[in-house]
């Protein structure tokens, strides 16, 4: 029982066995989270640095909670107020943190490949908490964990990722992971927000929600970012909502029971209608709960093997 890599950088190329191992391990940690004392000792004496070069609330909190619940010592920093704003390079920041004898590093960065780069310059185990538009492996793992919990198995499940796929690391990690696990993946969004040649990853492309809804088991709805509108990638939020917003009316086209996911934070009544986000189809809050269990599993598996 052991992951093939010392780092968790992405799901691209990760084996089915490794994904399965993380998901199975998370089941045990979920049980720990239901206990009155939600703390277990396996990472006692280990120090973990959370380096967030990009703002994040949910992911950082989730990682910190997971680390503390494994009894690790935790140091965190965000870009604001750190020496990064004084012009230090990523490599120097990492080297300095390493000089303080840190065992594991969790990194979020706006540049794709930042976590990979870091894994080559430091001795510590590196976990990618999101690098640019590249990957966000723990998010995809928790999405798969939630789906497996809700739907029993990922095999053969049709998951449609809706929204700004081009700029989404969540979409990319989900595509890699879900395809490895035997799910069928499609993407749906305006042509300006769907990457060219995305079919080569093994996904089908739709530009109308109405076309894909009758076929799906799961909708993973991505957050739409306002700055994309400013860059002219779609005309207005209202128009986006009209065509790509997931609403109760559009859901009437579904032929199977559909599970609705969202990586958060939600823009209510933009990419998803408020009533649907709170409906029984939605597993959005389960995703958040499961995020802690998945991160505990990944940290445990990486932190306890040499």
């Amino acid at each position: 029982m052991k992951l093939q890599s010392r780092h968790l950088l992405g799901l691209d190329g990760m084996s089915k066995e490794d994904i399965q191992l993380i998901l199975d391990t998370a089941v045990s940690f979920k049980e720990v989270l239901d206990r009155p004392i939600k703390k277990v000792p396996p990472l006692q004496g280990k120090t973990i640095a959370n380096m967030f070069f990009e703002s994040s609330t949910r992911t950082r909190l989730s990682f910190e909670l997971a680390e503390r619940r494994l009894s690790a010592d935790v140091v965190s920093f965000t870009t604001a107020g750190s020496s990064v704003s004084k012009g230090e390079t990523l490599k120097d920041t990492a080297r300095n943190i390493e000089a303080m004898k840190v065992d594991m590093v969790v990194i979020r960065h706006s540049a794709a490949g930042a976590a990979h780069f870091l894994s080559r310059v430091v001795q510590a185990n590196v976990l990618n908490a999101g690098d640019g538009s590249h990957e966000h492996p723990t998010q995809a793992l928790l999405d798969m964990f939630t789906l497996r919990e809700k739907r029993g198995s990922l095999e053969g499940l049709h998951v449609c990722i809706v929204g700004d796929v081009t700029h989404s690391r969540v979409a990319r990690s989900n595509i890699f992971g879900l395809i490895t696990m035997g799910a069928k993946v499609s993407v749906c969004g305006p042509a300006t927000l769907i990457p060219r040649d995305v079919e080569k990853l093994g996904v089908s492309v739709y530009h109308r929600l109405e076309d894909v809804l009758p076929k799906v088991d799961v909708l993973n709805v991505l957050r739409i970012q306002l700055e994309r509108q400013e860059r002219g990638l779609f005309p207005s939020l209202r128009e986006y909502h009209r065509y790509f917003g997931v609403t109760k009316e559009k859901m009437a086209l579904a032929t199977k029971p559909v599970t609705i996911m969202h990586p958060g934070p939600i823009n209510r009544d933009v990419e998803i209608s408020a009533d649907l986000a709170d409906s029984e189809h939605s597993v959005i809050l389960q995703q958040v709960t499961n995020g802690v269990a998945i991160r505990m599993a990944a940290l445990y598996l990486l932190g306890t093997t040499n």
């Binding site: 199975d24 277990v40 396996p42 306890t304 093997t305």
Partner: protein, 187 residues
């Protein structure tokens, strides 16, 4: 590889019968009693003991199982990780008399881990230890309250417990040499 038999399936059954009787005798019935087995074989043993106690006393006892992986003292520095499974104790252990069940008592490290794991879940009134085989060589001050059989062994020997539920056959064996057929649960 030399393999000598400690119990066959009939001996196994009789031992469980006796242990169940001892548990109810010592605790004067089943009041406040609950049984927790250490995964994997301790779990099945715990269920057998509970079933037997129910037959004897006509009252059911709560059973749970404990995974001690996260509490092991040798988690770090191993090449392979033991597979993590879940603890399933669906009742409040606080105030209960817990009978902790494991197949083989050896160094005592598993029991130490189990005690810590239980303390993180609640505050039992009492914890008693039941083992099928005590093979000696303790490295920690641990003593069982109920013992199926005490067997003096050498460090080179392995004690193998086979149970119907996991192994498809039943019996307890002492195996000579360092290479056991089944990796023994040594914490």
């Amino acid at each position: 590889m030399k393999k000598s038999k400690l119990f066959d399936s009939a001996g196994f059954r009789r031992t469980i019968n006796r242990l169940a009787h001892e548990v109810v005798e010592k605790n004067k019935g089943t009041e406040g009693l609950a049984i927790v087995g250490i995964r994997t074989r301790g779990d099945y043993l715990a269920r057998r003991i509970a079933q037997k106690i129910e037959e004897i006393e006509g009252k059911s006892v709560q059973v749970g199982c404990l995974d001690i992986t996260l509490y092991r003292d040798d988690l770090h520095g191993r090449l392979e990780q033991p597979q993590l499974k879940s603890t399933e104790i669906l009742f409040d252990i606080s105030g209960k008399i817990l009978v902790l069940v494991d197949d083989v008592l050896f160094t005592g490290r598993t029991v130490r881990a189990a005690l810590n794991a239980l303390m993180d879940i609640g505050r039992p009134a009492q914890i008693q230890l039941l083992v099928l085989v005590d093979r000696g060589h303790r490295e920690l001050p641990v003593k069982a309250d109920f013992v199926g059989k005490s067997v003096p062994t050498s460090m080179k020997q392995q004690v193998q417990v086979l149970m119907e539920e996991v192994d498809g056959e039943e019996g307890v064996y002492v195996i000579e040499g360092d290479e056991p057929e089944q990796k023994e649960k040594k914490p």
